[in-house]
Amino acid sequence: MREIISASRIHSDLVRNVEEISGEHLLACNQCGKCSAGCPVASVMDMLPSQVIRMAQLGMEDVLESNTIWICASCLTCVTRCPKGVNLPRMMEALREVSLRSGVTKLDLDSLPPELVRELPQLAIVGGFRKYMK
């Protein structure tokens, strides 16, 4: 894959938005990979959590297409272990927010099985609404 890295991309709106919403500096991450090593859902992500940060650092908009940002469960394991003190779940949330604020919706309420809705703890439903739609 050929990727062009340019100063304009690194100073793009995406980078600015993610840093502003998350309150984190993307370049603080030195790509050690510890977050990906301990992420409980890494095996079903199309991109590792550390790769998502790398793409975001470089202003690569494709990162918004990754399923990783929606599969991140905000379990906060990575933030407990990051040697650089990077708050990765905040960055994941910022990427979800950029996407949701542009009008994307990730939860189709009609598709939820009624027997599941009946049994789900209320907080899961409220939490799901908050994470997947605006």
Partner: protein, 286 residues
């Protein structure tokens, strides 16, 4: 002694057994959990976006309500606790945000209230020794696996209840109740949380790994403080058309085991609803 108490939505609906047993064991220890006269949903997620002040309004309203009742508020639901505690810490550190929320709600939340999980009250105010002395029906021989999950412990710098990588509070509680504590490696792994709404397959896989690990360590019961963990770990073990496999492990709230050990009547255990694997056979005839 009365302690102001925030039950939250889930404990008032699908997890009534947690509320019931929690109130009963607190009362048995001489503390009454006094429900806040007015409350609403905390929002169930703590906003990770720093510009999302809207999501801090509901929990701040709860903290304000609590402040009218005393200097602390107790919670049982790990997620309510997480949201309230982080809101309290966030507003204590960010005075500008604190002022903005108060301006919006037109309530004068002062930031005086401490948010405590019942587990912290048991450890810090009651003490494990004193609790052990109240046990009339020790859970001798019961292999109980403490499962912490995520939000009770993380992030440490805002929650600070216990060591986030090697916690002990549930272990200590179970020991005080006389149970045999099963230490298993998945006790702080994520159950999938709200992924269960959108990606149930993923949370089911995570949960099955956790239950399988507990089973490998011969646990008879898994013990939690979170209604979402309880659901995620138990629901995949529900009775299916193919019947039961016979190696299910019930997932109970720590308050339910306390209710048994403190010798409270069976209706106070709160086990008749909210379970997909009935835990009661474990205690019959004991």
């Amino acid at each position: 002694m009365g302690v102001p108490y925030y039950p939250g939505c889930t404990l008032s609906t699908n997890a009534k057994g947690y509320d019931r047993s929690g109130r009963a064991v607190a009362a048995a220890l001489g503390m009454e959990l006094v429900e806040l006269p007015e409350w609403q949903c905390c929002g169930a997620t703590f906003p990770l976006a720093t510009d999302n002040s809207l999501a801090l309004i509901a929990p701040t309203r709860i903290l304000y309500q609590a402040e009218q009742q005393g200097d602390r508020v107790a919670a049982l639901c790990a997620i309510c606790y997480h949201v309230l505690k982080r809101t309290q810490t966030t507003l204590a550190r960010d005075t500008e945000m604190h002022d903005r929320i108060n301006w919006f709600t037109e309530q004068d939340y002062q930031g005086r209230v401490t948010v405590s999980h019942l587990l912290e009250i048991l450890r810090d105010d009651v003490g494990w020794e004193a609790l052990a002395q109240k046990v009339v029906r020790p859970l001798t021989g019961l292999r109980a696996a403490p499962y912490y999950g995520c939000l009770l412990l993380r992030p440490y710098d805002e929650i600070g209840m216990d060591d986030p990588e090697n916690p002990s509070i549930l272990h200590d509680l179970l020991r005080a109740l006389g149970a045999e504590v099963v230490d298993f490696p998945y006790n702080i792994e994520c159950c999938g949380s709200y992924l269960t709404v959108k990606e149930p397959g993923i949370s089911e896989n995570l949960s099955q790994d956790i239950v399988a690990s507990a089973r490998d360590h011969q646990a008879q019961v898994i013990v939690t403080a979170c209604p979402l963990c309880q659901f995620n770990l138990e629901y995949p073990q529900r009775e299916k058309a193919s019947g039961r496999t016979g190696d299910e492990i019930p997932v109970v709230y720590f308050t339910q085991l306390m209710a048994v050990a403190l010798g409270l009547p069976e209706e106070e255990w709160g086990m008749e609803t909210g379970h997909f694997v009935d835990p009661r056979p474990l205690f019959n005839g004991k």
